[in-house]
């Protein structure tokens, strides 16, 4: 299986950016990953209570992304912890291979640093890394350890089919990780989007088919509709970070804004963009004027045809 590494993080004195990106990855896919990371960032205070690293699988048209979010074990020049989104992208044609080895990755991603891209980088020189294109890496199943061989033996015929319509919930803990592996092994179909380590608010923005939420016990069934309304709608309303149009416009109506000269500027600009009055008048009367001509032409034709 061919895969490529990706890393979104910051270094000693350069702010968060795409440090390593796979080749030929679309802007849309990067935006999706950015959105995922932003949501993680907003909810990391909840997710960090678990000893497990959150793990996400997202299928985009050109590739499948298997990424984790968390601490990088580095600090910036201000002494602040550096977080990251890191992992791998697997080209579309190797999707099934990924799905095949995924249970093994799940069993080892934390202990063997499988998705840790930072481990191969020299932190002192990392300020210079901006949008570096990653090369091809190879994942050979015959080189895997015994655990994978054992796992392959236990590869049972699919016993159940995951619903493609509704999500399946597992818990965000060791048991949940095992359940996730089991679900992947027993699923019929190709790679599906899953999130191991999310809050209810995070799931709203993606179409995850397997979800390991914080504070939700394993239900091992399709229970999306059964989540208490209070939990499902517990989106913190104040930070508005996703909708650019909404963030630049004011999210709430402010009575004082009637006196804001900036608003007037905006209206003035909009008026300037409109047609000027003479153009508008011309636009209104020209069609009428032309239609008069047409009527005349028709009358002439009518009179002409009636003449002997």
């Amino acid at each position: 299986m061919i895969y490529r590494e990706l890393l979104y993080s910051r270094s000693l004195s350069r702010d968060y950016r795409w440090m390593i990106i796979p080749p030929k990855v679309s802007l849309e896919s990067l935006k999706t990953l950015n959105q995922l990371y932003n949501l993680y960032d907003e909810h990391k205070h909840i997710l960090s209570k678990s000893s497990l690293l959150p793990l996400y699988c997202l299928n985009c048209p050109e590739a499948t992304f298997l990424v984790s979010c968390g601490l990088s074990n580095h600090k910036d020049k201000e002494g602040r912890d550096i977080y990251c989104l890191q992992g791998i992208s697997v080209p579309r044609e190797y999707r099934r291979h990924l799905w095949f080895v995924l249970p093994w990755i799940l069993a080892n991603y934390d202990s063997k640093n499988l998705l840790n891209v930072w481990r191969n980088l020299d932190f002192s020189g990392a300020d210079a890394i901006v949008r570096r294109t990653s090369g091809d890496c190879f994942f050979r199943t015959d080189e895997l350890d015994e655990s994978f061989t054992e796992m392959k033996k236990g590869w049972n015929p699919p016993s159940e089919k995951l619903s493609t319509q509704e999500s399946t919930y597992v818990s965000f803990n060791e048991d949940g990780l095992k359940e996730l592996s089991h679900l992947i092994v027993s699923a019929y179909h190709d790679c599906i989007d899953f999130a191991f380590g999310v809050t209810p608010a995070m799931t709203k923005y993606f179409n995850f088919k397997i979800i390991a939420e914080t504070d939700i016990r394993s239900k091992r069934s399709n229970i999306k509709n059964k989540i208490p309304e209070g939990i499902a709608s517990a989106t913190p309303p104040s930070p508005v970070g996703y909708d650019h149009e909404q963030t630049i416009a004011e999210p709430f109506d402010d009575p004082i804004s009637r006196f804001d000269p900036r608003k007037k500027d905006k209206i003035h600009r909009m008026n300037l963009l409109r047609e000027n009055s003479s153009a508008r008048l011309l636009g209104q009367f020209l069609p009428r004027f032309l239609s008069l001509f047409k009527i005349r032409e028709r009358l002439k034709r009518f009179n002409g045809s009636n003449q002997p």
């Binding site: 950016r17 960032d41 201000e78 004011e250």
Partner: protein, 357 residues
């Protein structure tokens, strides 16, 4: 109204949110009687969640600094005076790295499109902001003796570029700005004498271009103030020189005492007070304009106007006058809501903020 913080990564923008939470998150904690709460839609459970979101910035809860900001975040707040709303404002916090990335973008690249869109968003926020807070690390200002180096390393140079462009594009636009000298507790004691007077002078020297723009533009109101999120003696700074010309030092601050923010509320009060003062001027202009329109419309009122409006199916002068009157009354109502708070806000702010004029 909108208030945007402008400063490079690590200058202390998000930490200032923590100071605001500590000083204004609860009305009982400050003598001015003002407090802040996140604006949220009802119902109650959501309102409580949004308060929880704000309180996550508490330094007193965790005794640790907030993580750096990854994305532009808008915090809608309401300012209360004795439990009654005074005004609303949107607080804009963003990834400080954008400021240094303005000139870093390669020619054409997919990911640079993301950065470009971030920069464009930041520009839009600044464009629509009534007040901006220019956030600069006081320690950086004083660490470099070379003024040009201090200007470059602190982000002042980039800020100058942004606001010189702003003043060129909007030569007559009102703007309130405060130069906020963060981490003031960490500077050497020689900068702290006479209520931080030497530090303020250094700040004015570094921000010479902003001072000059403010003096040239009568519609600009500027101020400068040293701020600390934890207060004197409550943080221990370790500075390690690296010998690397790119990053001459590394620093780490540990909170060692109960946070008692210094001058945090004064910055916000100055921004709000000055903006409301500008709104007051606009409100009076609006009222005057409506009165003028009203008298002109009323001159046309009468039986002939009524008949003509019936024929043309347009509103008559009386109903137009009624609508103008309604708007004028609304102007008065809104004005009366915020006008009494302008003076207390500015009086409190000017106890610590030094005006640039």
């Amino acid at each position: 109204m909108k208030v945007t913080m402008v400063g490079i990564s690590g200058s202390g923008k998000t930490t200032y949110m923590s100071s605001l939470y500590e000083t204004l998150g609860d009305a009982g904690q400050n003598d001015a009687g003002f407090c802040l709460a996140p604006r949220s839609m009802q119902p109650f459970d959501k309102a409580i969640l949004s308060i929880g979101d704000f309180s996550r910035f508490s330094l007193a809860d965790t005794f640790s600094w907030p993580d750096g900001t990854q994305q532009t975040t808008v915090w809608p707040f309401t300012v209360f005076y004795n439990s009654k709303p005074v005004t609303y404002f949107d607080w804009i916090d963003y990834r400080g790295g954008i400021l240094t990335e303005i000139t870093d973008i390669p020619d054409s690249n997919d990911t640079s499109e993301i950065t470009k869109s971030e920069i464009s968003d930041l520009a839009s926020h600044i464009e629509l902001s009534n007040a901006v807070i220019l956030v600069v690390d006081a320690f950086v200002l004083t660490y470099y003796s070379n003024i040009k180096e201090a200007r470059h390393r602190s982000g002042a140079r980039r800020i100058h570029e942004i606001f010189t462009t702003y003043s060129r594009v909007y030569p007559n636009r009102n703007l309130t700005f405060v130069i906020m000298l963060t981490k003031a507790d960490t500077v050497d004691s020689k900068w702290k004498s006479d209520n931080y007077a030497p530090l303020i002078e250094r700040g004015l020297e570094v921000f010479n271009q902003m001072v000059s723009l403010c003096k040239q533009n009568p519609a600009w109101q500027g101020g400068i103030v040293p701020v600390s999120a934890v207060g004197e003696g409550n943080a221990k700074r370790t500075v390690v020189p690296t010998g690397d010309v790119m990053h001459p030092f590394k620093s780490e601050d540990k909170i060692i005492g109960f946070p008692a923010p210094l001058n945090a509320e004064h910055v916000l009060f100055y921004c709000l007070g000055q903006t409301l003062k500008q709104m007051k001027v606009e409100a009076h202009k609006s009222i005057k304009q409506r009165e003028k329109e009203l008298s002109e419309v009323l001159k046309k009122a009468g039986l002939v106007n009524k008949i003509w409006s019936l024929i043309t199916r347009k509103p008559d002068a009386e109903s137009i006058a009624r609508a103008i009157l309604e708007e004028k009354n609304k102007d008065y109502e809104v004005l009366s809501q915020f006008e009494p708070h302008i003076e207390p806000l500015l009086n409190k702010a000017l106890e610590r903020v030094r005006r640039i004029a």
